[in-house]
Point group: C2
Chain length 411, copies 2
């Protein structure tokens, strides 16, 4: 038997299901007997919550819907495998289940934590001389994985963010009085997504007036001076900030707010957003109308505006993972390697998971302007190829159609 | 000379520029000499801030870009004409400017306040026996204008809201722990936009679990009980609320929050959002993860997902306004009259502005379920035809292209 199993982990992206399809189709094409899916990742696997994917994806229509469906089809988890030392029983259990299922190769689609899972399973497998191959398929809108040029999921999120930013900029110009709009973008430690707002600038758009990334210490006074100067010239000011910007003493900007929104039953404070706090400061200082716009989870689920490059690369990464495993590789992550910028060409390449797991790739400081309030052309040149091309939704009754979810949605 | 003038007023929509194009093209086709545009509506007109539109829209590409460009191309204002009594000089000034420009017909694209402008100008014009014709073109995402079956702008906003809601619902199912997502939708007094979240439900989507419109008094205890019951059955709960829901004593729900975000230089309190307040209450009561998602201004500017029906009707309403004026009508608003639901057919029809200005059309109570927590099929049947069809963006370098704005963006 040549069975394989695949799981999805961490936050979803608009193309995580394209990688799932890449794994499923390629494994089937290459003669896998059963392609299993873990429901809610490794956490589900530990409870033997698995499905036979051939029962879910039955025809070309299913496949094309799957590509266009946001969120992780199999469900996800935020479960980090503990160190094997002191927790051998968890590893024994996982390998027992995999052995019962006669698993030949194990694929995990995810970000940093998921690659850590691949690393730990590879290392444990080597210790016990298991024949199972473990391959990681990268996925994260945050684009913060090492070694790979970029991660599947980033391109579509960047396309959504850039298109939305263009619309917000135009909207901000509608009245004849000053308005300061602050757009808050995801990415707590790495500013890649926030930098994507720079793509809005072009022949038909003024672009954002400032971009604040978490890679640079945020200075509240400098920010307010900057906005004050902008307000002297422009009617509408649009600024993009990462949710993760911090001041010099290490506190997040959103922690500067005088109030917390609420404290939940576990005592966790829910902080007001960074954009809301800054909008408040601008309103207080300059007496102008402000708008705080949090792009929130729409950034990771807006599958109605996918990048075709991203969809294709996500699919290819899934396929390349199967190819790698079936050719005997183990403990690898499929990375994307950019060959040329223009024309854009990019190939997949397996890389040792030990170089990737637990490393966070940030925006290089040399791609940020010296004042820390914008990004350089190198950065937009890096992102632009990743948002190219579209994959139109399958419109049914006026709305994008998704694949039917028959993994349970009940408790 | 047969010159005409057109202005845009109030909040923008994704199709307000299609109405502008409808006015421009039809007026040109019917032999208008110059089609003027008021920059920032009647407020700009009072300062003689006007442009010759033939200098802006030069070819078919410009026209197709204009249709796809969000925000009001000419800029907008929120200026309400004062009563003529005691303010005759303002009216005299307007008619003097119109006379200097040799204006034959005056078109105003807007919502309730703008139709009030048309009414007042019509009445004053009649008093002084002016030959100028005044025609209103309806526009508002809120869909709250009387007489007309619906308003241009509503369909595209509804399509955006429904598509986004589908994505949020699927995203909410990704983890294996309970999450309550609360989506806040625009429409302070009328619940049409919030009701559009009901369209998400279908063969591929569970739909939202509850919908709270401003037409019904909101009861905090009933709401929390309802959520508690939902959490017993479902892992993910998604609820749509209007920004304008109020409790029995008339206060907005967002006013129940213990804090204000900030007070600006004019002493205006900026209240935390309705969704944020309710998410806090749910988190405190049930100790579950919550998400508050404000669709904010994206609802009115997401031109990358326009409804084709809406674009066409917006264009037609502009064209019908010119036809009405050129056939001698005055003091009219172009309304949309639905002939049949399925197949959907709809025509334009002029109606006396006095029946439309200053009347607010709300969601009929008989279209809301008795528990006040959802809408009936009559309501989704009413909205579905309005979100049908797409008009793909013109994608340039991976992003939707807009028409170049050469109305000044500086102060």
């Amino acid at each position: 038997m040549k069975n394989v199993i695949v799981g999805q982990s961490g936050g979803p992206t608009a193309v995580i299901n394209s990688s799932l399809l890449g794994v499923y189709k390629t494994a089937t094409d290459r003669g896998a007997d059963i392609v299993y899916g873990m429901v809610h990742g490794i956490k589900g696997l530990l409870e033997r919550d698995i499905v036979d994917l051939s029962q879910r994806f039955k025809n070309d229509l299913d496949n094309d819907l799957l590509k266009r469906t946001p969120s992780s089809f199999l469900g996800s988890c935020r479960y980090k495998l503990p160190d094997v030392k002191g927790n051998a029983e968890i590893y024994e259990k996982i390998f027992k289940i995999l052995s019962d299922l006669e698993i030949y190769a194990f694929f995990y689609i995810g970000g940093n934590d998921s690659m850590d899972t691949i690393k730990k399973l590879t290392d444990y497998g080597a210790e016990i001389h298991s024949p199972i191959r473990f391959i990681g398929v990268p996925k994260t809108i945050d684009n913060d994985l090492a070694v790979t040029d970029h991660t599947p999921g980033f391109g579509s999120a960047a396309k959504y963010i850039a298109a939305t930013t263009k619309e917000i900029i135009r909207d901000g110009l509608v009245y004849d009085y000053p308005v300061v709009s602050i757009i808050e973008v995801m990415g707590r430690n790495a500013g890649w997504l926030t930098a994507a707002t720079a793509l809005a600038k072009g022949e038909d758009c003024e672009g954002v007036d400032a971009i604040y990334l978490p890679e640079v210490v945020f200075d509240r006074e400098k920010f307010l001076n900057f906005v004050g100067n902008l307000l002297k010239q422009n009617r509408s000011v649009v600024i993009a900030v990462s949710e993760g910007i911090k001041i010099a003493d290490g506190r997040y900007v959103c922690e500067l707010s005088e109030h917390v929104d609420y404290v939940d039953a576990f005592g966790h404070k829910q902080l007001a957003g960074t954009a809301r706090y800054l909008a408040g400061e601008v309103a207080k200082t300059f007496g102008v109308k402000t708008r705080a716009i949090e792009l929130s989870s729409l950034q990771r689920c807006a599958s109605h505006i996918q990048s075709r490059v991203d969809v294709t690369e996500a699919y290819n990464a899934g396929g390349a993972a199967v190819k790698a495993a079936f050719e005997g590789l183990n403990g690898q992550v499929i990375t994307l390697k950019r060959i040329t910028d223009d024309p854009y060409m990019c190939i997949t390449e397996p890389a040792d998971v030990h170089f990737i797991a637990n490393v966070e790739k940030k925006v290089p400081l040399e791609w940020i302007t010296p004042d820390g309030a914008n990004v350089k052309r190198e950065l937009t040149r890096y992102i632009f190829p990743l948002i190219q091309g579209e994959i139109a939704p399958l419109w049914v009754n006026g709305l994008p159609r998704h694949i039917r979810l028959n993994v349970s949605t009940k408790k």
